[in-house]
């Protein structure tokens, strides 16, 4: 059983092929290149390296967010289309969970944070219990201040994710000794983690397909109210 997994929820894009036995290949880029441009070449690159064809893939997995709306949508559209070609299973994995999974065996809490703009982060809390990743809270978008309030009594917390670029020094100042930070090798959500988590979901039969799989945006779209400047006239008074 081979799974092709991708993650495009942050500025980094990664692609991996994983089987029950091992991680076969992984490609990762964190450049200012657009996901829509780089994702398919990365897939092509690792499949070529593996002397594999996309027909050799049995299931497709994607980091389903939360994260950049456009990023997770590019990933989801690509994974849905791969699966569409031969109606193969699709597995969605929380990108926050994938990010936490990369911090295996840290003894305290694991708190992935993705930049959600407006001084907020997408986050959730995890812990490894008997070498198993356990989720302690649901994925959500919260302000960094609220997150700190929530975490200030915890003993040791490992932060990871692209939110570190913006908030690392602030977290370090406010939480002091109890804040730990993932190194740059493991900080971002990786397709290999998505693939690994997808394998266990697949084993449990928790699968989706190309029609029903959708990313998890968490937030509703931001909609500006209809612009007042167009409401020039009170229509009632001018109708003949």
């Amino acid at each position: 059983m081979n799974i092709l997994a991708i993650d495009t929820s942050t500025i980094a894009a990664s692609v991996a092929v994983i089987s029950e036995e091992k991680l076969l290949a992984e490609a990762y880029t964190d450049l200012k290149l657009k996901h829509s441009e780089k994702l398919l070449p990365l897939v092509d690159h690792i499949l070529c390296d593996l002397r594999m064809n996309i027909d050799d893939i049995d299931a497709f997995a994607a980091g389903s967010g939360p994260g950049s709306f456009t990023g997770i949508r590019i990933g989801a559209a690509s994974i849905k289309a791969f699966a569409h070609a031969n109606n193969k299973p699709v597995i969605g994995i929380s990108s926050l969970e994938a990010c936490a999974f990369g911090q295996a065996y840290f003894p305290g809490h694991i708190c992935p944070i993705f930049d959600a703009q407006r001084d907020e982060v997408y986050t959730a809390l995890f812990k490894f219990e008997e070498s198993c990743l356990t989720r302690l809270s649901e994925d959500s978008a919260v302000s960094i201040d609220k997150l700190i309030q929530f975490l200030k009594d915890k003993e040791s917390i490992l932060f990871c994710g692209d939110g570190l670029y913006k908030f690392k020094s602030f977290l370090s100042e406010t939480l002091g000794q109890s804040a730990y930070f993932a190194n740059k090798i493991t900080s971002m959500p990786r397709a290999s983690s998505v693939g690994c988590l997808a394998l266990s979901k697949l084993a449990k039969g928790e699968i989706s397909d190309y029609k029903s799989f959708l990313p998890d945006y968490i937030r509703k779209p931001q909609i500006d109210q209809p612009k007042k400047r167009y409401e020039y006239i009170n229509t009632k008074s001018v109708v003949k």
């Binding site: 398919l40 709306f69 949508r73 289309a81 070609a85 029609k211 020039y232």
Partner: protein, 335 residues
Amino acid sequence: MDDKNVIILAIETSCDETSAAVIKDGELLSNEVFSQINIHTNYGGVVPEVASRNHLVKLPQVIDEAVRKAKISLNDLSAVAVTKGPGLIGALLVGVSYAKSLAYALNKKIIGVNHLMGHISANFLAGAQPPFICLIASGGHTLIVKVISHTQYQVLGSTRDDAAGEAFDKVARVIGLGYPGGPKLDKLADEGNENAYEFTRAMIKEDNYDFSFSGLKSAALNHINKAKMKNEAINKADLCASFRKCVCDILIMKTMRAAKDCNINSIAICGGVTANSLLRKNFKAECDKNAIMLTMPDAFLCTDNAGMIASCAYYKYLNNEFEDIYMNASPSQRL
């Protein structure tokens, strides 16, 4: 390359229409459109993020339906085509990402289509043969193009500010007709007197094929405010009729002039605005008078649809114009 049995699946997601079509050897086999118009009506216009999310939800089923109605299977395809731009970036990216990955997984060629070339190519489906002069008038674009061959174009003129459809929508909004303004205004105008209010025909005398429509909204507002100051009621139907006549006159006159100057006796019109009933009627009369052949695709081929993208893609296929896996959306792509 074998030019027989060329079967192409085309995808269009540039704005708020999710669409897929199948074309075989230049003949349209299916053209499925899911319009999100009811969703966006609530917001008074297209919300890009909402459009993008809905494209992702609807696209797989729209593709399946297009393939089913064409009575083919995905493996029969010669290529997958998609609108690259112009359009809303988030919306385009859904189509582009999907098309690229689907083509890759099926081991088929990929074709990127300019949305405006798509609009022009709707005329090939309606029987137009190049060379012809083409008017593209929609909510986002207004231009006159000399179509030299199925894949060669020369832009003669375009709008310097608002598109014709934008002007329709804005005036419709000013008098409270709601969204989408164009079709509603067209309907109300049928009941009005087209000579009741005066609108200046902007740039009509200038020796070029460019347009300007941004002043028309202000002109409509002036009529309303003037009436208000005199404590008179404005007749909405008359205002719509007069405004519509003005826009149609400008579009027709400039297009006819382009045909005359280029010495081409064939005109084609496309884009959402060309679904306007008066524009169609008057274009027909004017072309008949001047012995010019007129092609007007059916209304469903004039608004955004993947059928027109498929038509364009077919000629690109014959011309060996393919994209690679690095293809990206280009939201402000020009013709």
